[in-house]
């Protein structure tokens, strides 16, 4: 055979192989490209949803209340689907189509979480009889919406108590249930932050924390748009609502503001509180009360062997695949309870993780009943959980979209950094006498007279509507951001291995005092659903 013939035969064999290879590799490349693009889109849509929540949370006078929160979350979920729909518009997906691919959206809030997913609207016979069949909602209908709030809670049962403890993203806990008072059952509802007991010295009105005394404050002022003008007035934030004291031009009244209108409060106590804000002190006192209560009734002895489920079955501590692994007392007040590695914090994270994982997998498996595609719950990584524990976050899932040779299965977690639901340790900025905000970690931040601790949410711009309907903008607290520690974080002296509390411990006592006063004040001022018994 001639060499040319050989070459031609060779080409005839190799050419198709190379063509097939080329198109195969091309296909794989497109699939993987598509996957990364979907990841980005999902992430962007989740961020949009979070931003929508954040904006509503800042700019509403009532966003702290539970039904308003659900309203904000619905708006945020709509933003998510709109954003997804516009990101995917080239592929022709609409919001309704996309809902078939999103098994769940999780809003991990301060002391519990909402799951936004599909559910079956089941009615009892009474409701069925009341409604005619031509109405918009029907029995056994598949709806897509928000499910009831689930708390990060765990039930503990011992010989002298049966309580449910609700945890949160920080050290705040709520205890509900009963304890034994002698031979009598006593129903209790207690709440507060757990702090290092040995750092806390309380003697009547003298409150000391970590060696600095916490005093009353009387110079808190903020801008507020009320009755057609922006005014700077003294205020107090009480259970999430701000009350202002107007004593200018002969006026003498205390009011709250809803939609730019004054709601006058006839409350002398409030006026007194505005002038002598002792909420920082109350925060530390509440904490001490809670810890004393727990010790008095033996709740500090709780171990994971005391955990019972909703049916009263005891938790099996020998189960290696179990959710809880802390050994020893959970609430060990002799130990450094605020430390990230304390038994309390480890257990708190386990409770939150177990609760979210359990309900989320239920929501996702229920979704299978509606969908032809078999949904699977992706395993969240440890770094993901760290993000969830950090602040309020949204977890979104997208599954079942065909991306050529493969089915897409992804999730995204986006964490909020600023919102009115919680005060993190780094949410407190220090405002100096010349009106510049600093992080407490700024390199060699000197103490100056007139420095004050500000909650970072209060330096965000607010939008309100003027009487003629045009938008008006203002900042509750005026000032500029430090270029060293806020605009960029290029000049901070906290090392990455150091915790914030350790760093603050090494600071000037006067700075420490400003910081801990502001932290206490802002945490005590937050809205918390409190059940008083």
């Amino acid at each position: 055979m001639k060499i040319q013939t050989l070459a031609v035969i060779f080409v005839i064999i190799i050419l198709p192989i190379s063509l097939v290879f080329a198109s195969y590799t091309q296909g794989r490349v497109e699939t993987v490209n598509l996957q990364t693009r979907y990841d980005s889109k999902l992430n962007d849509a989740t961020y949009d949803a979070l931003k929508a929540y954040q904006l509503n949370n800042f700019n509403s006078d009532s966003s702290d209340y539970v039904n308003a929160k659900m309203r904000d979350i619905k708006a945020s979920a709509n933003t998510f689907f709109n954003s997804m729909a516009s990101a995917f518009s080239e592929l022709g997906y609409t919001k309704e189509t996309l809902q078939n691919y999103v098994p769940a959206l999780v809003y991990a809030m301060y002391d519990g979480y909402y799951i936004y997913s599909s559910y079956t609207n089941t009615w009892d016979s009474e409701t069925i009889n009341k409604h005619s069949t031509d109405e918009s909602y029907h029995n056994d209908e598949k709806l897509y919406g928000i499910k009831p709030y689930v708390y990060y809670s765990c039930r503990y049962k011992g010989t002298n108590y049966d309580v449910t403890i609700t945890y949160s993203l920080d050290n705040y806990i709520q205890i509900q249930g009963y304890v034994m008072e002698g031979s009598q059952k006593k129903t209790v509802s207690k709440y507060g932050y757990l702090l290092n007991k040995k750092d806390l010295v309380i003697n009547g009105d003298n409150v000391e924390y970590k060696g600095v005394s916490i005093n009353k404050e009387n110079s808190l002022k903020e801008n507020i748009y009320v009755d057609g003008q922006i005014r700077g007035l003294s205020y107090i934030k009480k259970n999430g609502t701000k009350y202002y004291y107007d004593n200018e031009n002969g006026a003498d009244n205390v009011f709250s503001v809803i939609n730019g209108k004054k709601i006058i409060q006839n409350d002398e106590e409030l006026k007194n509180e505005i002038q002598n804000n002792d909420y920082a002190q109350k925060y530390y006192k509440e904490s001490k009360d809670l810890m004393d209560f727990m010790q008095n009734y033996g709740l500090d002895e709780i171990k994971i062997s005391n955990i019972v489920d909703e049916n009263g079955n005891q938790y099996n501590t020998n189960d290696e695949n179990g959710a809880y692994h802390t050994s020893g007392k959970i609430f060990d007040f002799d130990d450094d309870i605020e430390s990230e590695t304390s038994n309390f914090n480890t257990h708190r994270i386990e409770v939150i993780k177990h609760s979210i994982e359990r309900n989320l997998s239920i929501a996702i498996s229920n979704f299978n009943a509606f969908s032809s595609f078999e949904f699977q719950m992706p395993k969240l990584k440890d770094e993901d959980w760290d993000k969830i524990m950090d602040n309020i976050s949204i977890i979104s899932f997208l599954q079942g979209v065909n991306i050529g040779g493969k089915i897409y299965n992804g999730y995204s977690i986006v964490t909020n950094t600023k919102n009115e639901d919680l005060v993190m340790q780094d949410s407190i900025y220090i405002k100096d006498a010349s009106g510049i905000f600093h992080r407490i970690t700024e390199n060699s931040l000197p103490y100056q007279d007139g420095m004050i601790g500000i909650y970072n949410v209060n330096i965000e711009r607010r939008t309100t509507q003027d009487t003629d309907g045009s938008n008006l903008y203002y900042f509750p607290v005026d000032g500029t951001l430090s270029y060293n520690s806020i605009v960029t974080q290029n000049n901070i002296s906290k090392t990455s291995t150091q915790t914030l509390s350790d760093y603050i411990n090494g600071l000037d006592n006067r700075l420490k005092q400003i910081y801990y006063t502001a932290l206490g004040r802002e945490r005590y001022s937050l809205y918390r659903a409190r059940l008083e018994i």
Partner: protein, 176 residues
């Protein structure tokens, strides 16, 4: 005489067909796969920074290692556009009907590297929510497929790259 000429020609043709052609196709495939690796590594790196708000030395090294695994050398350019709200904050009271404008200023690779290298093992560059982070990657060496192509037809110019990727986006979290 004719036979010899034809034979020589046939041998050259056969060598081209049987050796160079498969080599070119294979090297093209290799570049495609490298392109894919670079694309993914870039998107993952940028998205990770966007989600955590922090550029760490570790992450950056891992990113470079991922790029290096393709067997080529790359030029990596990073850019952070830092959002400065201060000009918007300084608006006077009479301007309440306008939203003040935010200003962005840029920080580039060498400035970021300076901060990262300050602390040997755990250097970090911290970003905040609202900043914009971008990375772009181009190959600096000549890949085999480029060399082969240059053999037949020369592509001139300094910046001839065949593998490139870029990704950018808004940072969604403030670094702790």
């Amino acid at each position: 005489m004719d036979d010899i000429l034809i034979s020589v020609f046939a041998i050259i043709l056969s060598v081209t067909l049987m050796f160079i052609f498969p080599l070119m196709t294979m090297s093209d495939r290799t570049d495609e796969v490298s392109q894919l690796t670079v694309d993914i590594a870039t998107v993952e790196f940028v998205d990770e920074v966007r989600k955590t708000g922090i550029i760490t030395q570790n992450q950056y090294n891992k990113f470079l290692a991922n790029l290096g695994s393709t067997g080529n050398t790359y030029n990596v350019e990073l850019e952070v556009r830092i959002k400065d709200e201060n000009p918007a904050r300084k608006m006077t009271k009479s301007d309440n009907y306008d939203i003040g404008e935010n200003v962005y200023y840029s920080i580039y690779t060498s400035q970021i590297m300076e901060v990262l290298e300050k602390d040997e093992d755990n250097g970090e560059y911290k970003l905040k929510e609202g900043d914009i982070f971008s990375a772009s990657v181009k190959n600096t060496n000549q890949t085999i497929s480029q060399q082969l192509k240059n053999f037949y037809y020369t592509v001139v110019g300094k910046d001839t790259y065949i593998i490139s990727a870029s990704h950018a986006g808004l940072v969604t979290a403030t670094a702790k």
